[in-house]
């Protein structure tokens, strides 16, 4: 199960946080800080898996992450997930963002946090993988977009 998905930038500023297991707000903040601390001090060409986070789930807990330009995408998972599979999933999510936003950058995530959430919801639901087919995901997002547009048009 995916316990949490954290996206933060190189300075540790959170850009998206999504917890699939309940943690109180202050604990969430602590987890973000700890995770950033663990991930940010690692070189770029070491491995993408990491243990040692103490705050979620004890020993059955791994951080799987990818670093893209200014952003870290970190998935906190338990041992029921395949490590390489999660790496693929991060890639699928990022490629989808890139398609939806056209050359996604950090600013897109900041100003369209809600949209990023909606896209993520098409990939992961309640901590489990919902869909891995990028075309299907993009199709769902486009459908949402059309509904949004039609509402705007109604108002006008």
């Amino acid at each position: 199960m995916i316990k949490a998905i954290l996206i933060f930038n190189n300075h540790g500023k959170p850009r998206l946080i999504r917890f699939y297991q309940y943690f109180a707000e202050d604990m969430q903040q602590q987890i973000i800080r700890e995770t950033f601390h663990l991930v940010s001090k690692r070189d770029d060409n070491v491995c993408n898996f990491l243990e040692g986070g103490s705050l979620i789930g004890g020993s059955d807990y791994k951080l799987i992450y990818r670093h893209y330009a200014t952003l870290y995408f970190v998935f906190c998972v338990d041992s029921s997930e395949s490590e390489l599979g999660i790496l693929d999933l991060i890639q699928v999510f990022v490629e989808t963002l890139d398609k939806c936003f056209e050359n996604v950058c950090e600013l897109d995530l900041i100003f369209h946090m809600d949209k990023v959430h909606y896209i993520l919801q098409e990939v992961v639901m309640g901590g489990m993988v919902l869909e891995t087919n990028m075309n299907e995901i993009v199709a769902q997002v486009e459908l949402q977009n059309r509904m949004e547009k039609s509402e705007v048009n109604q108002v006008i």
Binding site: C47, S80, I110, D114, M128, M147
Partner: protein, 957 residues
């Protein structure tokens, strides 16, 4: 065209975000946020009804503020309102807010459930998906109660859209995880299993997560999934890279689904049906073959996806552990990965090989990679990978390579990362003990360990070496000689001094014949370290000295001189002073015979589970060290100590080891506390647990009929009141702990409802059977509290932990605490103990903020004499303002600043929520630092509440 419309967003939101980004300092940012929060709050509270768009905008702003790390304590109601909007975007943001900022506030949940119900029955697939998402993300019990019946129907209905099916599958999975008792699969089982055959790969992907979870819990009912999974897998594996179109990821057909299928198969033993098995073996072989083919793309995503499947296939092969041919191929494949240029693959190969090492078919094959693994330990740049290499070395170690592996680990320790040193030390200690053929090697290894990584050598490690030396005659002389040499180093670690002091005190005579280590030389060497050591070590050395007087009468006058010196006999530390006085007296009045009896060599230690193994296990968490391994450790340990009965607890061992001279007690000279306070409290607790509580001792005096006894099945432990008091101002922590069992507690309260999670941890390596717990409300508490506990698993494996949920409803105010009775069998003996559950009236407080004027007005209104309770008492803890504040906040009331004219005083206000009524309470605590006293006054609208609060609080400060 981008799928996301960037232009049509909410302008106000974009402006706000830009403002925040333009803030030059953290303070400016906080100021801007507070301004915005005030604005939103006033908009929400205002008279003018907000339109959907504004609500959406404000809710979105709140989400953004939350992301920045600020608590959001309002807006939930507006979000709930948005759920019933018929505009998609408004509904969508409402659900998002609820999912991210879930608050199990029961009234809201009811409203949310209503909205979900409407959307589920709307037949609009997009709305249904939103609702299912919300259930899956919140997953509360109330939601399970409302929807667990409906969702399986949606999942298997023929006319449900694929995207809804996907969501329904994962939604059901979430509900099953939170409330398995409410999700009844029965009639749906076969149709859910057949989702594995669904045309739509997305549906299969979602369904397989559900099926895997259900299979783990009910393997028999779901075992038909095996053949379906095998045929699905076979179809994917044999398809060309273009067959599956969209589900082909970088030329690999459906990698995600393949991994999940292979995981599902790991829930079951190898298929019994020959045809199915043959097909599966074929699949596994194909996967292994594909690994050798040239890659179809140079992209890392291609090799990742391919290898994700390969690693899962290898896991399945290891899980079956029955096909020697496949096992060896798997091992060779991993061997290739050990030297791969991708760090991720090296990491995963080391990890998989660790499990492979425990299979009898492949253990030898794994061992052939020893040089590569040692090399990885030395040269990998990434600590995660080095850690895996150390784990693998530990797993592949056996008698044939123990010396080499231990030597490599020792040399690695000198440069190892701080984060893994302690674990490495434990591993070296365990391997050295487990595979010691000659004990001089063992002693050398442990002393080296102390020399290299003394700071990381825990007590358990040096206790253990002493236990082993004492139990084995053949190594004592060698040990004495080796520690003597080790102590000659100009700087040696304090742990070395401890071991040296203990061993020379016992066996120094074995090397005294050599003039280079004559008694006086030994003594002077030990004493030269004395002043550099901490108090416990000095205490140990003093005991070694008195043992010297017995072993070597010629050292008596020198040692007496030392004991008599002011720095000993007038030492400011009570323990050291007492030892010096007593030992001096003992050496001067006791005859040699008495002295020889009292200071006799320590008897062999009874055999027990290696405390080091227990420690490693604890460090790694349950599951990391298998029970097998522990058992094995025990067996090996038994051999090593020449057998002997087990059953002691290691805390007592520890106290023996660190208090090397029980002699002082024998004479009854000693009155002070022992050096290590580890044992006594645990010891006395044990007595309580082992005695069958409830059997009344005064049976022959008691004239009460037996029914009285059954009404009160057990008397709580004497210390349970104290345990209860520990939790008055906090909700989480360890409620109880003894040698066998640890009970942790986590609780949360809202209004008059509470939920408590109890975690029962088995600290031993043996399973607890017929584990039952009962919660009772004695006497009138029955009518005051409604307590419901879910049953717990009757079996707790060694080292495992089970959880129990207890729901509490406060009907009216109360003073007693519910009783928790725990019964289980451990190694045949029935254990029975009763504790008080830390449910106290203050848990149901709602804090109430009020201004000074209001406070005193309320205070005056509560002026009836019985409404007030007052206590004046002495401070039990330091009167630290911050600590006091924290405790008062933990109590659950609002701590009111600037209310009391005297700034030293604390005042609080709160309302206790019970089902029957609300009880307003005010509190005033007046510390008097000079007298170290407090005056505590509580006033509330109900006399029993004032009294109880006063009692509870008087114990806290």
């Amino acid at each position: 065209m981008p799928a996301v419309s960037k232009g049509d967003g909410m302008r106000g939101l974009a402006v706000f975000i830009s403002d925040i980004r333009n803030c030059k300092s953290k303070e400016a940012e906080i100021k801007r946020i507070n301004k915005e929060l005030a604005n939103i709050r006033s908009k929400f509270k205002g008279d003018k009804a907000l339109d959907g768009y504004s609500k959406k905008k404000y809710v979105c702003k709140l989400l953004f503020i939350f992301l920045l790390g600020h608590d959001i304590d309002f807006g939930h109601m507006e979000a709930v309102n948005l759920l019933s909007s018929n505009k998609y975007t408004e509904k969508q943001i409402g659900y998002l807010f609820i999912s991210v900022l879930v608050n199990s506030n029961s009234e809201l949940i009811r409203l949310i459930n209503n909205a979900i119900k409407n959307d589920l029955s709307s037949r609009n697939p997009t709305f249904m998906c939103l609702a299912l998402h919300c259930i899956a993300n919140v997953g509360s019990r109330e939601m399970a109660e409302a929807f667990a019946g409906e969702i399986p129907r949606i999942l298997v209905a023929g006319d449900t859209m694929d995207s809804v099916k996907q969501s329904a599958a994962l939604c059901l999975l979430r509900l099953y995880k939170t409330s398995p008792d409410l999700v009844l699969m029965g009639e749906w089982t076969s149709r859910v299993v057949h989702l594995l055959n669904d045309q739509h790969m997305g549906v299969v992907t979602a369904a397989i997560s559900l099926i895997t979870c259900l299979s783990q819990k009910n393997p028999d009912e779901f075992k038909t999934c095996v053949s379906l999974a095998v045929s699905r897998l076979s179809r994917i594996v044999s398809s060309a890279s273009t067959d599956l179109q969209d589900y082909t990821y970088y030329f690999v057909p459906a990698p995600w689904l393949s991994c999940k299928l292979l995981r599902l198969l790991q829930c079951y033993p190898p298929p019994e049906d020959g045809a199915v098995k043959g097909r599966l073996v074929e699949c596994l072989e194909t996967i292994l073959n594909k690994a050798q083919e040239p890659p179809k793309s140079k992209k890392v995503q291609h090799s990742n996806a391919k290898n994700a499947i390969l690693f899962e296939a290898i896991s399945l092969i290891i899980h079956y552990d029955s096909e020697p041919n496949l096992l060896v191929r798997a091992c060779n494949q991993l061997g290739q990965f050990l030297q791969h240029r991708e760090t991720n693959l090296r990491y995963l190969a080391l990890e998989s090989m660790c499990t492979l090492a425990s299979s009898e078919f492949s253990h030898e094959a794994v061992k052939t990679h020893i040089e590569t693994v040692i090399n990885a330990l030395k040269t990998e740049r990434d600590v995660s990978v080095r850690q895996r290499a150390a784990d693998l070395l530990y797993a592949m170690c056996d008698r044939s390579n123990a010396k080499q592996i231990v030597a490599e680990m020792l040399s690695y320790l000198e440069t190892a990362d701080y984060s893994i040193r302690e674990e490495m030390v434990l591993k070296v200690a365990i391997l050295a003990e487990k595979y010691a053929v000659d004990y001089s090697w063992y002693v050398d290894t442990i002393l080296n360990l102390i020399r290299i990584a003394g700071d990381y050598v825990s007590e358990e490690v040096w206790y253990r070496v002493i236990q082993i030396v004492i139990n084995r005659d053949d190594v004592q002389g060698y040990a004495a000689k080796t520690v003597f040499e080790a102590l000659q180093a100009p700087a040696c670690h304090e742990n070395m001094v401890k071991v040296g002091g203990y061993i020379l005190g016992e066996f120094g005579n074995l090397i005294a014949g050599d003039p280079r280590s004559s008694p006086l030389v030994q003594f002077n060497l030990l004493h030269s370290k004395f002043h550099l050591c901490s108090v416990p070590t000095r205490a140990l050395l003093l005991s070694a000295y008195i043992k010297f007087i017995n072993l070597f009468p010629e050292t008596k006058s020198t040692i007496q001189e030392v004991l008599r010196s002011d720095s000993q006999i007038r030492n400011s530390d009570v323990e050291l002073q007492q030892r010096a006085v007593e030992y001096l007296k003992l050496s001067s009045i006791a005859s040699t015979d008495v002295l020889a009896t009292v200071l006799e060599e320590m008897p062999p230690f009874p055999e027990r589970e290696s405390s080091i193994l227990a420690k490693l296990k604890k460090k790694k968490g349950p599951g990391a060290v298998s029970v097998n391994e522990l058992e094995e450790g025990k067996r090996e340990g038994g051999e090593l100590n020449g057998g002997g009965e087990r059953g002691d607890n290691s805390a007592i061992a520890a106290s023996n080891a660190s208090t090397p001279s029980p002699s002082a007690d024998l004479l009854g000279l000693r009155t002070g506390p022992p050096v290590t306070a580890a044992a006594p409290s645990a010891g006395s607790l044990l007595v309580d647990v082992f005695s069958e509580a409830g059997v009344n001792d005064d049976g022959f005096l008691s004239s009460a009929p037996p029914s009285v006894v059954s009404e009160d099945p057990a008397t709580p432990l004497p210390e349970s009141n104290e345990l209860l008091n520990k939790f008055v101002c906090k909700n989480n922590g360890v409620l109880f702990e003894n040698q066998l069992l640890q009970i942790g507690i986590k609780s949360e309260y809202r209004q008059n409802l509470g939920r408590m999670y109890l975690f029962y941890g088995n600290k031993t390596s043996v399973q607890f059977i017929t584990f039952t717990t009962t919660v009772t409300c004695p006497g009138e508490l029955q009518s005051q509290l409604n307590v419901q506990s879910k049953p717990v698993e009757p079996l707790i494996e060694g080292g495992a932990q089970v959880q129990q949920v207890i729901n509490i409803e406060c009907l009216t105010d109360f003073s007693d605490a519910p009783l928790l009775n725990i019964k289980f069998r451990y190694g045949g003996a029935l254990q029975n103990l009763t504790l008080k559950l830390p449910v106290t009236i203050n848990k149901f407080f709602q804090p109430t903020e009020m201004a000074s004027h209001d406070f005193f007005q309320r205070w005056k209104q509560l002026s009836l004499p019985q409404q007030e309770a007052q206590k004046i008492f002495k401070a039990n803890h330091a009167m630290d303002t911050e600590v006091l504040k924290a405790k008062l906040l933990g109590l659950g009331m609002a701590l009111l600043e600037n209310v009391d004219p005297n700034p030293e005083n604390f005042v609080c206000a709160g309302v206790i929520q019970t089902k029957a009524q609300q009880v307003g309470s005010l509190l005033r605590l007046e510390p008097n630092a000079q007298a170290q006293m407090y005056r505590l006054t509580v006033r509330s609208s109900k006399d029993t509440v004032s009294k109880r609060l006063c009692e509870l609080l008087a114990e806290q400060f």
